[in-house]
Structures are given as structure tokens and as C-alpha cells.
């Protein structure tokens, strides 16, 4: 593993340039078939479509909120596809692309953002934990889980690895430093995957740190590497290597995926208040999907029929997401008492009964009104 702390200019691992050309990297060789390459392209296009649809649904009042992944597809699909079925991922709230790779259906994500369910999936079944919104809290959970994996002796070439996603802003939180230290001291099998999307709501990385984020790791005693976060191959290869490093018992690693949040922080935010469009344009030219398409075309790995097929699939997924979102049933008001304790609880049962009586009193009043 390379440890770049000594270098002045941050080195950035890039395997596929914005122009769609392959680059070799001594530490991260990648051997990828045409079929896999087309698969990555398909993933990238489809998650962008799901994301665009979700933003539109929120605008139409169908979702309470949505945090868009626009621009971060490569970081998420590359790292998501590097995971093995038995691995465990701890997301923040923007990792819809990773969720996709773990087999979580868009409908399950939307049910949470629509508020009809507090958890749309079983984290054990998918190897993907539930979203975490209190910044950086999941870094500790992932570390603890990794320490558990270690305790279970589930390490080795076929062992389990853990990955934790968080943002550039989250690196300022004490939790992150404590997680880094715990993971390092215990040699825990966890990969810290930081998507540096250049913004924490309105605050740029200069507000959070004076050194490139990947260099943090060195101070804690484990390797850190910066990758081109808009390069799906770099994300795939480096995450794969880091996960292997972890699962074989060599301890944690930090990956800083240098990318850009092309959309608003969430649907509640208007980024034109704090950032200039020139920056957006510059990053648009580094689009994570375009370069894969160019590569596929130039190398003759995919033809127009393939691209048309993916576009058609995207359209039908968009349509399905829209329909399924609207069809999600509203929860019953009494549901609020269902998930407070894992065990039956008398105090909660009494509240539920009282509340049911209270609701019924309105029904009685309505009925009288009609009479």
C-alpha cells in the first residue's frame, strides 16, 4: 500500500482519465473484462436515473427530503462493486449508489425518505447498514463492527471486511478521529471511505482541514490514499485492495475519493448562494459517466444498441420508481408505538391504548356530526 504522506502535491490514483483513456498504476493493477466494464456503465447510468427521479419526486411533494448523489456515482459504484456479499457497509445518507450495489431496491430507499418506514431493509441481509444522519456517528459503529469481525476470527483471504462512508465535513468531528484511532490500535478490518465532494453544505474543505484528508491516516498509523473519485475504475481497484488488506488482518485504510457534489446538499438547499458556476463547469468536464461511455465507444466494447438498451432500462426504472413511490401505503398513526423497544413494554402499551381512545373520540364526533 502506498503511503503518500511525504509528498507535497497530493498524488491521485487515476485509472481512467476524463478523456476515457486507461492509465496503469503500479500499486493498483486492474484487469477488467468488457462485460464488467459495460456492467459498471449500466450501474452508473441507472443510479443517476433513480437519483434524478427521487429529486423530482421530492419537488412534487412525494418525498420529505432527498440527498442527491449526482456527481458521486463513480466513487459509490466502484467501491460498492468492490464489496463481497459477506462484507458490511456503513453509509451516511447519500450512498444510494452503494445501496444499489448491495441489492437494495430504490423503493426501499424511498420508503424511508417518504417516511412510511423507519428502515426499509434488513442490514444483515444486504450487508448494508441503515442511513446515519448525525454526522460521523457511523464511523464508530463501523469500527466496532469491524472489531467484532476480528473477535469472531472472521479474517483471512475469504474473511469479512467493513467499509464506512462519510464526507469531507465529517472528518472534523471527534467521532471520526476516535474511530481512526480505535481502528488503528486494534488493527480492525475497516476501510474508511471518505467522499470529499468539496462541500459540507456551504463549507469548503479549507474550513475542515489544512492538510489533504487522506494524510490524516498517517498520523494514526495506517495508510491513506487519494483517488480520482470520478473514476469508477480507481474506486473499484483501490477499494478492492483496501478491503483485501483489511480482511487479511492488516488493519484499516483510508481512501479519500476526490469528487464533487454536482447537486444541492439536499433538496432543502440552494447552492447558488455559496458557490460559483465556473467550479461546476470544471467538474462537469470530469463527469464520471461520460468517460466510461467514451472509453466503451473508443475501444469498441459497446455499440449504439447497448447504449440505447441502457437508456431504455433507465427510463423504465424511472417510471417504476415514480409509480412505486406513490403506491407506498401511508402508515397508521398507532405505528409510532411499534418500534420503541424490541421487547413488549407496558408503558408503551398503555400509551398506545390511550392514544387509540383519543383517535376514536374524533371518529365518534365525526359520526355525530354526520347524523
Amino acid at each position: 500500500m502506498s503511503n503518500n504522506t511525504a509528498q507535497k502535491q497530493p498524488e491521485l490514483v487515476q485509472l481512467l482519465t476524463p478523456e476515457g483513456e486507461l492509465r496503469r498504476h503500479p500499486d493498483y493493477p486492474i484487469d477488467i473484462s468488457a462485460e464488467e466494464m459495460r456492467g459498471l456503465y449500466r450501474d452508473l447510468v441507472l443510479v443517476r436515473r433513480v437519483d434524478t427521479e427521487a429529486v423530482a419526486l421530492q419537488r412534487q411533494g412525494e418525498l420529505g427530503l432527498w440527498a442527491s448523489l449526482l456527481g458521486q456515482e463513480a466513487a459509490q459504484i466502484g467501491s460498492g462493486r468492490a464489496l463481497r456479499p459477506g462484507d458490511m457497509a456503513f453509509p451516511s445518507y447519500r450512498e444510494h449508489g452503494v445501496a444499489w450495489c448491495r441489492g437494495i431496491r430504490p423503493r426501499q430507499l424511498l420508503s424511508m425518505f417518504r417516511g412510511v418506514s423507519n428502515g426499509g431493509w434488513d442490514p444483515h441481509e444486504y450487508g448494508f447498514h441503515l442511513y446515519s444522519i448525525v454526522i460521523a456517528s457511523q464511523t464508530l459503529h463501523a469500527t466496532g463492527y469491524a472489531m467484532g469481525v476480528q473477535r469472531d476470527g472472521a479474517l483471512g483471504a475469504d474473511g469479512t471486511a467493513v467499509i464506512c462512508y462519510f464526507g469531507d465535513g465529517a472528518t472534523s468531528q471527534g467521532d471520526t478521529s476516535e474511530a481512526f484511532n480505535f481502528a488503528a490500535v486494534n488493527n480492525a478490518p475497516v476501510v474508511f471511505f471518505c467522499q470529499n465532494n468539496q462541500w459540507a453544505i456551504s463549507e469548503p474543505p479549507e474550513r475542515q482541514a489544512r492538510v489533504p484528508l487522506y494524510r490524516r491516516a498517517a498520523g494514526f498509523g495506517f495508510p491513506g490514499v487519494r483517488i480520482d473519485g470520478n473514476d469508477v475504475l480507481a474506486s473499484l481497484a483501490v477499494t478492492r485492495a483496501a478491503l483485501q488488506h483489511a480482511r487479511e488482518g492488516q488493519g484499516p485504510m483510508l481512501i479519500e475519493a476526490f469528487t464533487y457534489r454536482m447537486g444541492a446538499h439536499t433538496t432543502n438547499d440552494d447552492p447558488s448562494r455559496y458557490r460559483v458556476s465556473a467550479e461546476l463547469e470544471e467538474w462537469r468536464s470530469k463527469d464520471p459517466i461520460e468517460r466510461v461511455r467514451t472509453h466503451l465507444t473508443n475501444e469498441g466494447i459497446a455499440d449504439d444498441a447497448f447504449f440505447a438498451e441502457v437508456d431504455a432500462e433507465a427510463e423504465s426504472i424511472g417510471e417504476r420508481v415514480r409509480r412505486e413511490c406513490r403506491e407506498l401505503p401511508d402508515p397508521d398513526p398507532l405505528d409510532i408505538f411499534h418500534e420503541v423497544y424490541a421487547e413488549p413494554n407496558g408503558h408503551i402499551d398503555r400509551q398506545r391504548a390511550d392514544f387509540a381512545d383519543y383517535l376514536a373520540s374524533f371518529e365518534d364526533a365525526d359520526a355525530e356530526g354526520v347524523r
Binding site: 420529505g64 427530503l65 417518504r114 417516511g115 412510511v116 423507519n118 444522519i133 448525525v134 454526522i135 460521523a136 465535513g169 465529517a170 472534523s172 468531528q173 471527534g174 459540507a200 453544505i201 456551504s202 463549507e203 474550513r207 475542515q208 482541514a209 448562494r273 455559496y274 401511508d330 402508515p331 398513526p333 405505528d335 409510532i336 408505538f337 420503541v340 408503558h347 408503551i348 400509551q351 392514544f355 383519543y358 373520540s361 374524533f362
Partner: protein, 332 residues
């Protein structure tokens, strides 16, 4: 008189206090360039510059702790925590340090700082972002906790908080920022910390609330007046120190009380008020004191569930009527 929003009252007061005292400065996440998540600090970075308006990294414990240090050396930091939920990350600094430094250092140095932070559910922000946990701070000697409900109170109390030599947790509410009220032009009132207010006089029953619930209590009283029920509204305004006298006097007059709180019932602020009434007005009570509070569940995110969990005009009205019925006054 001018009619302004609660938000505007806070902003105008921060600005005026910064002009008045060079030692006052602001610190918090997103308060400068972004002008605050709820736009309370709009225009202040432009006017006062980075020396006085500091955007911080996302590290609540960090900036609250740093503010304590600055306050100990004579500055007057006014810290914004995006919502009271994130104060949990800074709770050791607040409870173990801000509140105790004066005493534990033998009165050598006080901590004249203000933590401004909004609480409040009803905004569909989910369980970790919708709490009202001012109770935690109201429990702690050494802290002062203020909770204004109107623009005029917000201004007068923020002035008092900034000028006070002790650490003050200044509770705002997401549901109040857009509410409007009259504020006298050029008003310089500095509120007396630790005073509740009878915001509406009445004779049948006392309805007690603070922050958003004081506003809702006013609405309930207004609606009940039309039905011939005279409700006296007490706005607590200060949770620590607590003005027990005003509460007790009102209940002695009306003979019954309902407490409305935007918070969980068990061990809540309402429990403290009910105990105070029992101690001070036992002989005057014609009916048991009623508390109307949130369902004791983590706040749901779905709109219909969130509404179900929160106290409402309807649930408070029902409690008032049931209490009056218990007293023997037949109402609705």
C-alpha cells in the same frame, strides 16, 4: 411599534449587541457565508467580517469548548448550534465545564457565553433531529436556560443573555422563527432573567407553556374564549431559574392547571411545574394538574405520524375541558 418576525428580532438584537460590545462574537457551523441554517445571522459576516463571525468545522464539542475558553478570558461568545440535537455532542463541555468552571475554580473566572439553538419537532426531520432536550440543561445548576416565545421577548431575553456573566442556553424553536409580533421601535429592554409572564389573564383555568407551546397555549385560550371559557396563560420564559411564584399565584386564582409541553412526559419540565403547583397551591386546587405532552416515542419522520406524536391545539383543548369538567364546570 413595528411588526417583525422572531427571526428578525434575533438578528437585529445580535447585530445591535455586536455594535454595542466589541467583545461579542459569533461562532458556529454555516453561520457566516451561508448566513445560518435558519438565516438568523444573515448579513452579519458581511457587516462584521470574519473576526467577529466565525464559520467552524463540523465539530460541536470543539466549538463549544473553544467558546468556553474564549469566555473565560473575557470575550462574549454567542455560539449557534444548528439544532439542539447536536448539542448532545457538546454536552460534556456544557454541563461539566461551562456550568461548573465558576464554582470549581473558586469564582476566579466566570463563563459569559450564550449558546443559541433551536429545538422543535413538526418539521419532518426525523428522530435524531426533532428533539426538545432543554430539560437536560434546565436540570443543571450553573446554567441559565431561556425560552422566549415572541419576537419582543426574544429580543429582550437575548440582550439579557449576552450581557449576563454566566453561561446561558438560549432556546429558540423552528416553529417560531416565522411567527410575527410587535416590537417597540428602538426598544432596549433587557429582560429580567428568571421571570415568567402572564400573557393572557383569565379566571377559569391556568394554561402553562413555554417557547412554541406558549404560542399554542395562546391560540387555545383565544378559541376557548369564544366558548365562554376564560383561560389564563402563563409563559414560563425562563426554565432555569424557574419563576415558581408567578405559576403558583395564577393557579391560586384559577384553581386548576394544564401544562402543555413539546416534549416527552415522564420526568419532563411539566413534572417539575406540577410538583411546584402541588407544593405552592395545594389548598387551592379543585382538580388534578394535567400535563399534555408528546407521545413517548422517538419522533417519527412521516408527516401523519409526526402530527400524531405531537401535542396539538385539539389535545390541549380536550385536556382543558376535561379538567374543567372535573371541577364541575360543564363545558363542551
Amino acid at each position: 411599534m413595528s411588526v417583525i418576525t422572531y427571526r428578525q428580532a434575533l438578528r437585529d438584537t445580535l447585530r445591535a449587541e455586536m455594535h454595542r460590545d466589541e467583545n461579542v462574537f459569533l461562532m458556529g457551523e454555516e453561520i457566516g457565508v451561508f448566513e445560518g441554517s435558519y438565516k438568523i445571522t444573515e448579513g452579519l459576516l458581511k457587516e462584521f467580517g470574519e473576526r467577529r463571525v466565525r464559520d467552524t468545522p463540523i465539530a460541536e464539542e470543539g466549538f463549544v469548548g473553544a467558546a468556553i475558553g474564549a469566555a473565560m478570558l473575557g470575550l462574549r461568545p454567542v455560539v449557534e448550534i444548528m439544532t439542539i440535537n447536536f448539542s448532545l455532542i457538546a454536552i460534556d463541555q456544557i454541563i461539566n465545564h461551562a456550568a461548573k468552571i465558576y464554582g470549581m475554580f473558586g469564582g476566579q473566572t466566570s463563563v459569559p457565553m450564550v449558546i443559541r439553538t433551536p429545538g422543535g419537532g413538526g418539521q419532518q426531520l426525523g428522530a435524531t433531529h426533532s428533539q426538545n432536550i432543554e430539560l437536560f440543561y434546565s436540570f443543571v445548576p450553573g446554567l441559565k436556560v431561556l425560552a422566549p416565545s415572541t419576537p419582543a421577548e426574544a429580543a429582550a431575553m437575548l440582550r439579557a443573555a449576552i450581557r449576563d456573566d454566566d453561561p446561558v442556553l438560549f432556546l429558540e424553536n423552528l416553529g417560531l422563527y416565522n411567527s410575527k409580533g410587535e416590537v417597540p421601535e428602538g426598544d432596549e429592554t433587557v429582560a429580567e432573567i428568571g421571570r415568567a409572564a402572564v400573557t393572557r389573564e383569565g379566571t377559569d383555568i391556568t394554561l402553562i407553556g413555554y417557547s412554541r407551546m406558549a404560542m399554542v397555549a395562546g391560540q387555545v385560550a383565544e378559541a376557548l374564549a369564544a366558548e365562554g371559557i376564560s383561560v389564563e396563560v402563563v409563559d414560563l420564559r425562563s426554565l432555569r431559574p424557574l419563576d415558581r411564584q408567578t405559576i403558583v399565584e395564577s393557579v391560586c386564582k384559577t384553581g386548576s392547571a394544564v401544562i402543555a409541553e413539546d416534549d416527552w412526559l415522564t420526568y419532563g419540565i411539566g413534572a417539575e411545574i406540577a410538583a411546584s403547583i402541588q407544593e405552592g397551591a395545594f389548598d387551592y386546587l379543585d382538580a388534578p394538574v394535567r400535563r399534555v405532552a408528546m407521545a413517548e416515542v422517538p419522533m417519527p419522520y412521516a408527516k401523519p405520524l409526526e402530527s400524531a406524536a405531537l401535542p396539538s391545539v385539539e389535545s390541549i383543548t380536550t385536556a382543558v375541558k376535561e379538567t374543567l369538567n372535573a371541577v364541575g364546570r360543564r363545558v363542551g
